[in-house]
Amino acid sequence: MSLVHRVVRWGQRKSPWILHFNTGACNACDIEIIAALTPRFDLERFGVLLKGTPRHCDIMACSGPVTLQIESRIRRIYEQVPEPKLVVAVGTCATSGGVFDGLYNVKSGIDKVIPVAAYIPGCPASPQAIIDGFAKLLKTLEEGK
């Protein structure tokens, strides 16, 4: 890797801005994601900021099973995020569809629609698990995988 490449990689690792996107969750995982961003856990230590627009974000934190209604929307939001981008599936429903898998209005996990980089299971995933998942994902960037 050239020096410029390495410096940009360092920047990506140290400054992951996230977009919180509910793909049809029951709200439990959303509350836990917000809890992870509060002063108690303070994700800004790792440079994580919550952004409102897909144009600013690097990591999409998606929660919930993909419902048929959200399917086209999640694709569009994903395409609006500038490269390089990563998707993290937060919660059991996001990883596999969970208890909603096979329901008439549910498509299943997020990886059936858009590529997912990391899975954080749990119902709901606790803030500690979410922080651990993000830390592990950023670590894989370090190794250049």
Partner: protein, 313 residues
């Protein structure tokens, strides 16, 4: 001044590089203090640099509906205007790099240009959120700009000059007179929050209402330059306030002068961070009513005081 030293002044010191380093450091100080006030650990020291580098490495998306030339040029103009303004402000010496009579007015108008580029950038990106943010930015200008101008012009009235270096020179010669402008200092600090679009006046980019305001459609390199422009604007504005309202200790040795200047900037940045921690966002109508009904009369009171003081001495 030869062409070589002029380029050096513009690009390295006290131009682009110096201001950019100071701007990123200023953002760190602001975010760290904000975090500490909230009992958090806060970001590491390299955080603003990491954000900047990462944004440089990201894809640049230009919306199909956007007015391309203006959309692309807005961040460059914002940064250029801020840089140009910095050259007219005395930092630790009694003189700025290019002093002339009337540079106070020029600096105030140069500092207005970033807000205009926020409006143009937001308006031309033709997103609903960006358009709303742009309109709010331009509405807010008419509220905070009058008290800010009046507060900054009051010391000039007492010093009887329109040049910042002249004002600094006058207050160095009459050190007993600078506390007269303390009311103006308070008005300037409060209205600066509006200029820098910080809480409680972050109405144009209120992320819980209109996503990111004017910057909603900006990504990658252009967003990085907009952010750098905002950081540098904070430093330039704070340096201007320090030069006009805190003009003491300017005859010191260079190293002591630099340290004193940095201390002044740090103090004013800490005050801005404290104000942003203390308050929650106002509505746009509340903000305008506050600036016109409270801030503007206080600023005019400062003018009145300075006129009386000028008659007395």
């Amino acid at each position: 001044m030869t062409a070589g030293t002029a380029v050096l002044h513009i690009l390295v010191f006290p131009g682009f590089l110096f201001l950019a380093v100071l701007g990123l450091a200023g953002e760190f100080v602001d975010r760290k203090l904000y975090a500490r006030f909230q009992n958090r650990v806060g970001p590491p020291w390299f955080q603003p640099l990491a954000d900047f580098v990462k944004l440089l490495g990201k894809e640049n998306v230009v919306p199909e509906e956007a007015d391309r030339p203006i959309f692309k040029l807005a961040p460059v103009f914002a940064l250029a205007a801020v840089l140009a303004a910095f050259l007219y402000i005395p930092l630790w010496g009694p003189k700025s790099l290019l002093p002339f009579d009337g540079d106070l007015i020029v600096v105030l108008y140069l500092l207005l240009i970033p807000t205009v580029t926020f409006f143009l950038g937001g308006w031309t990106s033709s997103s609903v959120f960006a358009t709303l943010g742009a309109l709010r930015a331009i509405t807010q200008v008419f509220a905070y700009e009058i008290p800010l101008f009046v507060a900054l012009l009051a010391p000039a009235l007492l010093a009887n000059t329109w040049s910042i270096s002249g004002i600094v020179h006058y207050y160095s010669a009459h050190p007993a007179l600078w506390p007269v402008n303390l009311i103006g200092l308070c008005v300037a600090m409060v209205t600066l929050l509006g200029k820098l679009e910080r809480v409680p006046f972050d109405i144009p980019e209120a992320e819980t209402e209109i996503v990111a305001g004017s910057f909603t459609e900006y990504s990658g390199r252009r967003l990085a330059f907009f952010r750098l422009a905002v950081d540098c604007e904070a430093i330039v504005a704070v340096s201007l306030v320090a030069a006009i309202f805190l003009p003491f200790g300017l005859g010191l040795a260079p190293w002591a002068g630099v340290l004193l200047y940095l201390a002044k900037v740090l103090f004013l940045l800490a005050v801005l961070a404290l104000l942003r921690t203390l308050f929650a966002r106002l509505r746009i109508d509340q903000m305008i009513a506050f600036c016109w009904k409270v801030m503007a009369p206080i600023a005019f009171l400062q003018i009145l005081i300075n006129l009386v003081v000028r008659e007395l001495i």
